[in-house]
């Protein structure tokens, strides 16, 4: 099953199970969404529960919040995560804060789904990775699934979560295939996963960087190096125990994400590891690999250069291994 199909399956199963769940977003009905994720759901659930909205991102975000506040479980799709900027007030100043501002006497069980990332040639306004913006906000949960099984399990948990969840799907992952458990299958939000065990170094990878890191780990294995690949899966709340345990085990940490390095979430992960007791086990400084300090360019070569590719991760891993123990 592909990643996109796994999302669809999660939506379908949860809509069947819970009549409060409904979808809203631009062109999600007959069109099936810009990436075809919701294709066909309107046939089963009708236009009441698979609700096409006008191109009005602030209203989309706020409307979902209002519905969540009063007994529904909306899943709102932004066509591209870049456009969440238009709904930002509703997400950050309203949805994330209402419960707290109301003294803990309300719940906002809403999911904001959106495709993120580059690699499709859509250039600067359709390709960003802005997850760190959201991870900075208490009251939100932020999830970046990297496999078909994860995306299903995490989406079911996100819909059932009583808090606003930002659910970011990488565009290039939509066509990735993988095994997905049928039926009831949930993954707790806030649980990292070791995608491949190893002892020589840890590669902490987010979203699309997970399959890339796994490919690098396979290549390193041929050279006799065992890389451990860890996927945090959720940025907020962050499962730092798993990350710290891996750092402590291997003593060498490479963090890879597509987002621009400055202010990127890798900085947060690095800081958490460096300020934990894993620090004493490090054989080399923590290395971060992130996007270039530029908006995503249109040109294919430049676009590739702007985000870490397999070769970049491989080279970074090599550099990290060459560092002498401190």
């Amino acid at each position: 099953m592909t990643y996109a199909e796994a999302i669809r399956e999660a939506l379908r199963e949860e809509m069947r199970r819970d009549p409060r769940v409904f979808l809203m977003g631009e062109d999600i009905g007959i069109y099936g969404g810009a990436f075809g994720v919701t294709y066909g759901l309107i046939d089963e659930f009708g236009e009441e529960r698979v609700r096409d909205t006008p191109i009005s991102e602030a209203a989309l975000a706020g409307c979902a919040i209002g519905a969540a506040l009063t007994g529904m479980r909306p899943v709102a799709e932004f066509q591209f995560s870049d456009f969440m900027a238009i709904g930002m007030d509703q997400i950050v100043n309203q949805g994330a804060k209402l419960r707290f501002m109301f003294g803990g006497k309300a719940q906002v069980p809403v999911v904001f789904r959106a495709p993120l990332g580059s690699g499709t040639g859509a250039a600067a306004q359709h390709s960003q990775s802005l997850e760190a913006w959201f991870a900075h906000v208490p009251g939100l949960k932020v999830v970046l699934p990297s496999t078909p099984a994860d995306v299903k399990g995490l989406l079911l948990s996100a819909i059932r979560d009583p808090n606003p969840v930002i659910f970011l799907e990488h565009k290039l992952l939509y066509r990735y295939k993988g095994p997905v458990p049928r039926g009831e299958w949930t993954i707790p939000i806030g649980q990292a996963e070791v995608k491949r065990p190893g002892k020589d170094l840890t590669i902490i990878a987010l979203s699309i960087m997970v399959p890339r890191a796994l490919a690098v780990a396979a290549r390193l294995a041929e050279e006799g190096i065992e890389a451990e690949v860890v996927d945090p899966r959720t940025l907020r709340p962050l499962d730092e125990e798993t990350l710290i345990a891996s750092a402590r085990k291997t003593g060498r940490v490479l963090i890879v994400h597509e987002a621009v390095l400055t202010g990127g979430f890798g900085g947060e992960i690095a800081a958490r590891i460096a300020s934990s007791e894993a620090f004493y086990y490090l054989d080399a400084p923590i290395l971060r690999l992130g996007g270039a300090e530029t908006p995503i360019p249109y040109n294919r070569t430049l676009e590739r250069r702007a985000t870490p590719q397999e070769e970049d991760i491989y080279q970074a891993a090599r550099r990290l291994l060459q560092r002498r123990p401190l």
Binding site: F22, E48, T53, P54, S56, A58, A59, A61, G62, C63, A64, I65, G66, A67, A68, L69, T70, G71, M72, P74, D89, Q90, N93, Q94, L98, R99, F100, M101, F102, G103, G104, K105, A106, Q107, V108, P109, P138, G139, K141, P162, N163
Partner: protein, 324 residues
Amino acid sequence: MSEAVPALSPEQMRCLLQTMYRIRAFEEKVDELFMRGEVHGTTHLSIGEEATAAAALQALRPDDYITSTHRGHGHCISKGADLKLMMAELLGKETGYCRGRGGSMHIADVASGNLGANGVVGGGIPIATGVGLSIKMQGLDRVCLCFFGDGAANEGTFHESINLAAIWDLPVIFLCENNQYGMSMSVRKATRCETIAQRAVAYGIPGERVDGNDVFAVYEAVSRAAARARSGQGPTLIEAVTYRYKGHSKSDQNRYRTRDEIRAWQERDPIKRLAAYLREHSLLTQEEIEREEAAAYQAIEEAYQFALASPEPDPDSLLEGVYA
């Protein structure tokens, strides 16, 4: 006041008077506490605008929803809030509606359908639309009344939300309290439109402009809009023209308007107008009216004493309520 005989019982009219006195008394007390430094942060008073809040809620049912604004004390009181819990919230006490986490600009009582004041101009408008959607999808016989100011009518959320509510026939009443200023910006400078209500044309819904200092006019307009909403015909935009006597907030030096302008509006004071009507129609005696007024100030004093005696939040509870 409206020419037509209002469709309100004498008991409802007395209730309107009580509510308006309570709003005014509450806000005068808040003003005083602010001056004395007992309330911190900022606060926005709606003194002079009491008729819209009181009449709009009189036209709704207890289980209807509202979303409110930074100038929301009146909406909250009209929705039936406990004055003690409100005052405790303004004093930042644990016993307040939001356990002292919200303050003046974020008071909510979700249990009674008050979905909160809002510190972001125009921020509540999409939320109200979502509440309307929720009501409709659950097949409930409720409406959501969305308060906002003339300033908020120039936010993008206003346009997006009303359009959405219109295409989906949502049971939402968009009630613009046009007090004629967004901070210092006069509504005449902020838009080329003659009225806010005429914008309804752009969304294909009814728009109506009423005298916001006339409780009966507001009551009737909101009643009509509520009936429309409940019968599945969708949203209405109402513009209630009113005025705030006090500054925008505590920092306001009032440089953008004249004393004469304020005085002229004070002559059309909504509370005095209703009181005069009740006297002239022998519905209440002057003595009864004065008793209502005194009772309101008394209730506020009790609320203040309750708030004063209430405990502060425990610092160790700081992280409570962030996540469910």
